[in-house]
Subunit: 362 residues, 2 copies
Amino acid sequence: MNTLANDTFLRALRRQPTDYTPVWLMRQAGRYLPEYNATRKRAGHFLALCKSPELACEVTLQPLERYPLDAAILFSDILTVPDAMGLGLYFAEGEGPKFERPVRDEAAVKNLAVPDPSAELRYVTDAVRTIRAALGGRVPLIGFSGSPWTLACYMVEGGGSGDFRQVKSMLYRRPDLMSRMLDVNADAVAAYLNAQLAAGAQALMIFDSWGGVLADGAYQQFSLAPMRRVLAQLERRDDEPVIVFTKGGGLWLEDIAAIGCDAVGVDWTVNLGRARALIGDRCAIQGNLDPMVLMAGADQIRAETMKTLDAFGASAPGVGHVFNLGHGISQFTPPDSVAVLVETVHAYSRSLRQREGSMSLL
Amino acid sequence: MNTLANDTFLRALRRQPTDYTPVWLMRQAGRYLPEYNATRKRAGHFLALCKSPELACEVTLQPLERYPLDAAILFSDILTVPDAMGLGLYFAEGEGPKFERPVRDEAAVKNLAVPDPSAELRYVTDAVRTIRAALGGRVPLIGFSGSPWTLACYMVEGGGSGDFRQVKSMLYRRPDLMSRMLDVNADAVAAYLNAQLAAGAQALMIFDSWGGVLADGAYQQFSLAPMRRVLAQLERRDDEPVIVFTKGGGLWLEDIAAIGCDAVGVDWTVNLGRARALIGDRCAIQGNLDPMVLMAGADQIRAETMKTLDAFGASAPGVGHVFNLGHGISQFTPPDSVAVLVETVHAYSRSLRQREGSMSLL
């Protein structure tokens, strides 16, 4: 349909053979890059950067200029949807995201409605279109959203949290209310992701950043089921692959693989070989280097990167693996470390395939 | 040896049959209790409370006056050992623990030495003796320590951390230095726990609060192996059971069960039935209610508590299960909620055993 110069990422998500293991990094357009900080400064503040399609496009492409990454990801925030619901997203300097009007009671939940992506979230779909044009088919563009549960965490807590007391209080006291909120969130996320697809996103990722704080049982009910509801509503005309990433969800890989996604993101606590044995016949796997490895020297970065590629397993090396960090890249990462990482993923994963190729000739 | 009025907790840790499932709560002597806050106020500050054997004894016993808990746990802090190493532990108001002299370089690591528990940590063993006398054999007393890795996190970071950047940088850059530090920590923890045993602790718990932030592989090397080193050095004259609790360690239960502990603590992300199937033939299991359940009403607390007891499994109900939360109790917990929890654990677990008893008569 749309010709790509490099479709390795999409092929890996579909578990098709590739010449090497594709790599991109969560938060690859971020504060570790001086050029990102310069654009952000020009924008004035973080939200202005998100809300300008031109500037969002500019920072989306910056890491691709530096490194031969195999995918671009829409530059945006995971909290655009609740912002569009009217909760008043803002960023206090030096703190994380906050909402002016957190959702704490029944009345507030009942007031929630699915925002129209073509109105309140137009700046996002405009960014998708702008980025697609600027990419010119170099690599695929990933669209994304926070998961319904992760959005609910911020919406109820009103910001980040250490113990998730407010949102879990609502969950345990009023599961009916929590479910109602998650239904709205799921429908809002689905509409949002569909708008991104229509605008040109070639793959999607759902960031379930806070699914891992839930108890077994509660996770399935309050995070996984709403994500299934999202997936069921997606209109994927080109069979665009969807990645679901629950941070701290390593105990639930089989549950996640069953909701209809194409790939499961895993953090660094997961053994990639074990993950592949559990779900590799159904889903691709994305991950999972500890971002803090990038604080070490080049030799250690190479060694840990190779260890991660090896962990995925020797048979059919790398088929169904997308290399990534296990979480967003740290703002304190030296940019040169990323170059070492990307180069190692490409070179070493090629050599693994060649080794298997020559072995199969014996 | 020492006669106990209630040895249910010790029997459960040894996987012997019990009349009901024993229960205690991490941080059961804590800020949710008004009487604790009163004593703490009298002490002046938190560390003064830890360092006074009489006041530590007073707060240790407070929850036992309110609730029919099946174990007491020494009131202390997990950072007493690095404090005794001379790092200067202090608590800034409203913040977590901090160290005046964090361990950041080779020289600082090489300076570390195992403190003499009979000198710098005398206040802890005095507290153990005082509490044992005051308990008069009602229930067993648990001694505890932070794990070598968890101590290292605070020692290197100099306090709490969101990304563990400093300690992981040392780990990935200088694994030799990190291993040296962990060896000292392990030997210090072993000496500390042995002193607690000698003073009368009847069970031990190792809190590996931050093991779960490590990557698969790094966990086994930098958290589990040092805990194994601790266990190998313990002098358990009465076969005192040892519980190892890695928060976020649900993916490594079989590895943990193999290091020589009697019980494995699990947080709420773990399915208790699955944990039992994996390691129940070797270890007891402690856990795992989400502390935030206690923010709900009495009916929901009862339902979630029963669900937790049921999850452990119907066959030989409760054998080898110690009920606990999956993490420390929140300071915002209504004290009456704890009464509901403890009562439900006792009553419902008794009924499960009676049901099985009557079924086996059929």
